[in-house]
C-alpha cells in the first residue's frame, strides 16, 4: 500500500491522487490500472465488503476519519468516495 507518513502535509490537489493510488493498492492485482475519479465503484474489480473494510481502515489510520458505512454505500464513483474521505467523512 502507498505509504503516506503524514497526509496533512500533502497539498489538497495531491490528496486526490494519493487516495486513488491507495485505493488501487487496496484493490490489488485484480485492478490492473490506477483507478480514475470517474470510475464507478461497483465496476471496480475487487470492490467488495472486504475492500470496504480496508477503505475504512485506511481512512481511520491515514486520514483520522471514521467513515460511516451508510455514507460509503451512497458513494457511486471514486470521486464520491474521495470527497467523503477528504471532507472528514461528512
Amino acid at each position: 500500500m502507498s505509504q503516506i507518513s503524514d497526509i496533512s502535509r500533502v497539498s489538497t490537489g495531491e490528496k486526490h491522487d494519493v487516495f486513488c493510488r491507495q485505493l488501487t493498492d487496496i484493490l490489488g492485482v485484480q485492478q490492473k490500472e490506477m483507478v480514475k475519479g470517474s470510475d464507478r465503484l461497483s465496476s471496480l474489480k475487487g470492490w467488495d465488503s472486504l475492500t470496504i473494510l480496508e477503505v475504512m481502515s485506511l481512512a481511520d489510520s491515514a486520514y483520522r476519519v471514521d467513515l460511516d458505512p451508510e455514507r460509503i454505500a451512497r458513494c457511486q464513483t471514486v470521486d464520491d468516495l474521495t470527497r467523503l474521505v477528504l471532507s472528514g467523512g461528512e
Partner: protein, 332 residues
C-alpha cells in the same frame, strides 16, 4: 473465594474448508487474497448431523481425560451457544445427562456470540465469588456453518465450527485481590447487522424463511462498531482495575479476523509481541475463539502463570465485554 481457570480444552470437527476450496467456488477471490485479508487458511466444518452440543461433548471429555477432576465434583454447567439443539430445553440440561454429571449441578444456556466467553467468565466468577458453586464447566460451542448461505463468500471465508471446555475452580482468596474485574457493553441498535432472523417467535414470512434462516452480516457496520466500542471498553476495564495499558503482558481478543485485529492493535497502540493471534487454522469460531487462543498461547509458552492478561470479546448483539486476569486467576 476467588476463581481460577484450571484447564482448557477445545475441539474442532475434522472436515476443513480451505482458502483454495473457496477460491474454486469464487474465482474473483484468489486464495492468496482470502488468506492475506482474513488471516484464515482453513476453517473446520461440522457434518450436517453434528450439533454444537456434540462438539461441546468432545471438548468436555477431552478436559476430563486431561485432568484429575471427577464428574461428581462439577456443580455448574454454563453453555454459551447460538446454535442450540432445540428451542427448548436448554442444551446445557442435555449435556448434563450426556456427560454423566450429577443431578445436583446447575445448568443453563446463554445466547451470546463473540462476546460470550467474557460473559461466561463473568457468570462463573460471580457464582464462585458468592459461594454458589465451586467447580464450573464453562462450555462454548457453535456450528455457524449451518447458518451460512452457500453463495455468501464473506461469511464462509471467516466462520468455522468449534467448541471449548473451560474448568473454573474456586480457591481461597490470596489477599492480594478479592474479586474479578469485568466491563460489559451492549447496543441493541446493531442487532440487524449480524442476525439469523428465523427460528425464534418473531419469524419471517414463510416465503422468506429459507433466507432468514441464514446469517446476515453487514461487515462494514460490524467493523465500524468494533472500532467505536473496543478501544472505549479497554479504557473502562483498565480504569476499573486501576491499571494502564503498558501493565498488560498479553492481549487476547476475540479472533474475528486478522485484518480487524491488526487494525485494532495499531489503533489502541499495542505492541505486536503483546497481541496473541490464533485464527489461521480454525477461523472465527465465535465464542470459542478466546479459549482456543488461550490454550494455544499457553501451549506455545506465550502465556504463563502470573501474567496480566486482557481478554476482550465483541460482536453480535452488539455485545462486548472485557476482563483483566492475573493468569490463571479471574482477578488482577
Amino acid at each position: 473465594m476467588s476463581a481460577v481457570i484450571q484447564h482448557i480444552e477445545y475441539f474442532l470437527p475434522d472436515s476443513i474448508l480451505t482458502a483454495e476450496d473457496l477460491a474454486r467456488e469464487f474465482p474473483e477471490w484468489p486464495a492468496e487474497k482470502i488468506q492475506s485479508k482474513t488471516g484464515i487458511s482453513t476453517r473446520h466444518i461440522a457434518a450436517p448431523a453434528v450439533c454444537a452440543s456434540d462438539l461441546a461433548t468432545v471438548a468436555a471429555e477431552k478436559l476430563f481425560c486431561a485432568t484429575s477432576v471427577t464428574r461428581g465434583e462439577i456443580d455448574f454447567i454454563l453453555l454459551c451457544t447460538q446454535s442450540p439443539d432445540y428451542v427448548l430445553p436448554a442444551t446445557a440440561c442435555i449435556l448434563q445427562d450426556r456427560l454423566g454429571l450429577p443431578n445436583h449441578v446447575g445448568a443453563m444456556d446463554f445466547n451470546l456470540g463473540c462476546s460470550g466467553f467474557i460473559y461466561g467468565l463473568g457468570l462463573a466468577a460471580g457464582l464462585v465469588e458468592t459461594g454458589q458453586a465451586n467447580l464450573i464447566l464453562l462450555l462454548t460451542a457453535d456450528t455457524y456453518s449451518k447458518y451460512l448461505q452457500t453463495e455468501d463468500k464473506a461469511t464462509r471465508a471467516i466462520f468455522g465450527d468449534g467448541a471449548a471446555a473451560i474448568l473454573i475452580r474456586s480457591v481461597p482468596s490470596d489477599g492480594r485481590s478479592e474479586r474479578s474485574i469485568f466491563q460489559y457493553g451492549t447496543d441493541g441498535k446493531g442487532a440487524p447487522n449480524l442476525m439469523v432472523s428465523a427460528g425464534g417467535s418473531r419469524d419471517a414470512e414463510p416465503e422468506g424463511l429459507a433466507q432468514s434462516r441464514c446469517l446476515m452480516m453487514n461487515g462494514p457496520e460490524i467493523f465500524a462498531f468494533t472500532m467505536r466500542a473496543v478501544p472505549h471498553c479497554i479504557e473502562q476495564v483498565l480504569s476499573k482495575a486501576g491499571k494502564v495499558l503498558a501493565e498488560i503482558d498479553l492481549f487476547v481478543f476475540h479472533q474475528a479476523n486478522t485484518f480487524i485485529l491488526e487494525h485494532l492493535r495499531r489503533k489502541i497502540g499495542i505492541a505486536p509481541e503483546k497481541m496473541f493471534i490464533w485464527i489461521e487454522h480454525c477461523g472465527n469460531t465465535v465464542s470459542s475463539t478466546i479459549p482456543i487462543a488461550l490454550y494455544e498461547a499457553q501451549r506455545q509458552g506465550r502465556l504463563t502463570n502470573g501474567m496480566q492478561v486482557m481478554l476482550v470479546g465483541f460482536g453480535v448483539g452488539y455485545s462486548w465485554g472485557a476482563t483483566i486476569l492475573r493468569w490463571p486467576q479471574l482477578s488482577c
